[in-house]
Symmetry: D2
Subunit: 409 residues, 4 copies
């Protein structure tokens, strides 16, 4: 296997691990490495990645660096939020949703530079390897995939550092020791897992959190904001129109400052084991509540319940890595069909970790005060209709009860 | 219709409205009224209801007063929480779950006293009339049902008060004016709707909340608690074994003190319109998180995802009033089947409106640190298995992609 | 109520019942009646309906007669068959699917002629009243609906005939006696119910069947046909391109001749009771098998299984009358999304009531002989991948089994 | 890997392939082989398997032969038929349902004889390997699994025969040449796939069918039978009480004689590719119709629709091999809960490939002739109830339509 790769596109962060992978690919496969580094809003500068790639011998024309934040939010995050997706009832899928985009970019670059393989830095026990590779294959069925963590023998931190040193890969001082946990970050969230978090009975230490201040540290006074929506997507904060990425950035700031979006979760991985993760999704947590709020007055019940029934399946598909699958796209078509009038404004109260919807309004509101009021009105609601409605809904239950009575059980 | 009722069992709170109903039944139907007053944990004394019933001419042997709190929590609330039920993603179903129990008691009393009818005080626009009546019919198919709010002409507050006065029904001073909103309460929750809440764009005023203090008013220091579970039901708080009702009472105190469990929601009623409600479910909000927490380490993924997929349907059935239906009972059988090993302890942090699971442990834990660890281990996980797993999961996607490539779209 | 209708659009067949309704509307409501008679392929001439309407005093410009067969098949039948819809596992929904179209036409005519009401001839115990009226309201929310069978006192055949005679409504000789069962027909199917069919333990007599010959009477030799599909819809039979209605007509002939499409069913009505019906859907039965056949080689598994999971819900919506609802439209969007490559040819064997798919081919086939063959091949399938696939799928089950072993149950 | 197996329990048919496997296990792993041969109703005698095993050097006490037909039908086939399970709308799962039982027996024997491994003869491209191995692991998490077809190099018929000859394995004359297709059989069905069936455009030749005569060859006169049910399971044919296996045997005869139960299908395997199979399920095809027939009068609509909604998922689990999984067991609990009153008799007409339900009766029937009749009756159905029922069901659709009108789209 090691012999027939000519050129590989590596998802490259510029960090120690992917630098080791880069060098390992060169030495093991004897192939040319092309790097792809994306700005997904992870909060790191990208130019150091370029320098490091150059240093490791990558040709300038083979170093691809791209700011994909707008594409990430508009084509991945927002469609997912139209579904109100939560994996296992709680997780906002911040890592899952970034993988398909990175994969897609790698495949595009592979076509451009004529590469015959792609590689990623995900480990052999996690979900990310699945998400990367299902995406690769769905987009380029004959691509070769290299997953170094499943292949090499650098199975301990020590070996990894030795390899780095022996190949002149610079090691930042703070990378010498082992990190106390493993991290992923993008504009939607930060996740932490492993090491100190591996005992699910122990509370996550405060230093694990990187993206939010604690509720305790948040201001003692609530912040009120208004999020505007058009056709299911957020378009403004406090009246200011913002691009998708700018909007999520703004919600992240608001969430962070108010201690919003922390989640400590034991979840079920697609590869079959349970793992414990700590997630911070400050803006996303606000966005989910806001989206549910605007839907609450603009979506019909039939549409809303159908969406709710299918949400866990949609979330599972995203989590498992089936973004580029017909079934995810079919569900998306169903969801998007429902969002045409999900337009309006939601007012939210942010306070020390809490996000509360406190007001909603829409030119397309289906809420009808005349209909619901306790006051007698001129509207099309006849109390006697309720009697018939109940009677026919009860008919089958009465038939059942008559059987029970008849047979005496 | 008004002529053929001999004896009716009324769900009687002792308040003004059901007292008016009581008298209206006597005068309109000329029938004997039997009252049923339940202690569901609504926080009111019941003896005044007895006195008032006597005053209104009900025979002592026809006044039924019962403390049903334990039955309510163990037979209704807990089974529902095994499902992690949330209506429309957010509502903990506090009103919905109490109706079937009241209905069941009324039917039992009707059989005991030989009544041919039952009556309730729910209005003609709400969900509760449906919940009461579906339950009545499911349990006693030929029972006659009287829903005064759908029949009478006391269609304004003024008319109601006039009727009360003309029939010597005592009116508490604070009932003279109209209440600023309508309320329901039991051990699980309090709900408020109508009047000042009818504009969904306006924030609910603080005085609406009756069951919880605000997050702002809650202590500045977090409270940590441990909830113990056995087979899916909570059995202890901080190591102290408690009966179901006592446990929920304790969680309510903890929730109340920490500003937990408020919800401001626009929801879709079964009768077809949207309404806005404010809910307070302090203990239930803690219980849901705790139950999800203990499930996270004790439930298999297949079981958990099946439960998540069916939860919205279960919640819809409860909300719509189909508690006593074959389909709810079938879903319950499925859910209960999953709870055998949902046993253990969950540690939670309560802080100013937030409930966070911070630790979980169980003798039946499926979490396997050896399996998930980044460290190399002796456990049954071969990284190469992941490659095959991904390859076969990708096979159909690659076949699809090959088709796309073949036809050039 | 009877006084405020000015002009009503009646779904008029020209038969005795709707003629009585026509006259009853004129006399009871004192309103102008506009008739709409549709050719849905029921196999009756329409001109007699025009003459009868004129005879009953309808103005020529208020008599609407339209051949809607093409619209019926292309806009209603075909979209439904894309879903492979079967109600309660067996029923092809032949009556259900025609009602929304008739309703839509009535509403369009009501707008054209300025009518304030619509009326239909469905009884008060059936599903059709629901289907008509939900469609009316969904399309024209303030329309008034008259359902004579729920209002009048013509509650026996005798009274109906008396009314007809007293109003000079011609009664065909064979309508004098009571029909032995009740019938509905259109291009998709014929249904029979009531009377001799009301005992579900008794076999339906042969004379109930009107649309098909019996399997016994069908030819002793099989007929082979080929149905061509494009994007999920049938477009040709035996290589001959046909319009939707012409194609269904052709399949009906083929089905009829071969004794195909009979169904004797006890089903659950939306209004709450069980009923027994006999259905004949000759062409539709062939079409369903053919569509499943072409999907079997062109649809991906993920798409196919998602469709299968949602089919019962789609069928229920159609049966209940929610064609014009957001949730049906959302499901349709999901289904249609899957049909882009459902193109190709299916060969079927028709023989004495049997329809068997015996061959399928498509330029977009996903069937890959190289992949599936037992022979060793050069294709991208490594047997060792299966080992990893199984291992990771088994991981959670092994974890469970280890728990069972550990706790000794 | 080849070195650490001491004793392996092989699912042994006595045929050429598993005899080769037996010998291969002995020679490759140097381990002791224990054989398990089950009578699942495949229609072959078992004693020759014993002789052959002895001949191949298996100790008599290590040869396990068991008639598991009753267990197969009562514990696997019948529970599955309670679900009306059809994979991909058509396949009765005849192969899938047998694998868990064989696996369970192998594990039980492994415990008895102290074996550390199990082995099966399924190939590396099929579903059966998954079904066997998921079952093994679910029952005995640390068992070692040997799948010779994925490991050895006997990758052609020629090599297999050479191996057999060189190891003195007797080869039946008709096994010399390659079989024109691959076969599996048990009391529920026979399946054929591969070779002449690999082109899905070609009709399956008549000689593929082994278990049924063709509809053409079946009698020209219909056969009527009555199947009795108790709590969801068939218990009698034509009034004669039969054990589960005897009953299925009887239905198989009836089906076979009447040309019933053939299916030609392209299906989606769990391992990711499409395959074409020909199935014969004569008795099962009758049983499914009969079960649906008895359910049609004894199951409430809510129960029936919930079952229908979940059926595809249940069928998928069985097909994929997850019989011993919590989610299949949870679904089973739900299904079984519904079957308490699925008792009564169904009359069926069998004729040249057709199975028609022509009558159903039950002491627990929910069919109510008084309720459904067109005749006016004294029953609890008020036509005016239908008006209210429709009005409230329409309310949300009217609200939607009013929005549409308001915004002028």
């Amino acid at each position: 296997m090691a012999h027939d790769i000519k050129r590989v596109v590596l998802a490259y962060s510029g960090g120690l691990d992917t630098s080791v992978i880069l060098k390992w690919l060169q030495t093991t496969y004897g192939c040319e490495v092309v790097t792809f580094t994306a700005d997904l809003g992870q909060g790191e500068e990208l130019e150091p990645a370029r320098k490091k790639a150059e240093l490791l011998g990558i040709k300038p024309e083979h170093i691809f660096i791209e700011d994909v934040r707008e594409e990430f939010v508009s084509e991945y995050v927002f469609p997912m939020f139209r579904a109100n997706a939560l994996y296992e009832g709680l997780y906002l899928l911040g890592t899952s949703i970034a993988r398909p985009l990175i994969s897609k970019k790698q495949i595009e670059i592979a076509r451009k530079v004529g590469a015959d393989a792609v590689a990623h830095g995900a480990t052999g026990k996690g979900n990310d390897q699945v998400r990367f590779e299902l995406s690769y294959y769905a987009l380029e069925p004959e691509i070769k995939v290299i997953a170094p963590w499943r292949e090499w023998d650098l199975t301990s931190r020590t070996k990894l550092l030795e390899f780095a040193e022996s190949h002149q890969i610079p090691i930042a001082r703070d990378k010498r020791g082992e990190a106390p946990f493993s991290v992923d970050a993008n504009l939607l969230h930060s996740s932490s897992e492993g090491k100190v978090l591996e005992n699910p009975a122990e509370e996550a230490p405060e230093y694990v959190y990187q993206r939010t201040i604690s509720p305790e540290a948040a201001p003692d006074k609530a912040t009120y904001i208004t999020v505007g929506f058009e056709k299911g997507d957020a378009v403004s904060v406090d009246g200011l129109a913002l691009s998708p990425a700018a909007l999520l950035t703004r919600l992240n700031e608001l969430g962070k400052e108010n201690g919003i979006g922390r989640l400590d979760l034991v979840e079920n991985r697609f590869v079959g084991m349970k793992s414990r993760g700590v997630y911070e999704t400050p803006g996303g947590t606000i966005l989910l509540q806001a989206h549910r709020g605007i839907e609450s007055i603009t979506l019909d019940r039939g549409a809303a319940h159908l969406k709710d029934d299918l949400m866990p399946r949609y979330a599972e598909l995203v989590y498992y890595g089936f973004w580029f699958s017909p079934e995810r796209e079919m569900l998306q078509a169903l969801i998007d069909k429902s969002q045409e009038f999900v337009t309006g404004e939601v007012r939210l109260k942010l306070y020390k970790g809490n996000v509360e919807v406190v007001g909603r309004s829409s030119p397309y509101s289906l809420y009808n005060q005349d209909l619901v009021t306790f006051e007698e009105g001129a509207v099309a609601y006849d109390h006697r209709d309720a009697a018939g409605f109940i009677k026919l809904n009860a008919l089958r239950l009465r038939t059942l009860a008559n059987r029970t009575r008849r047979i005496g059980v």
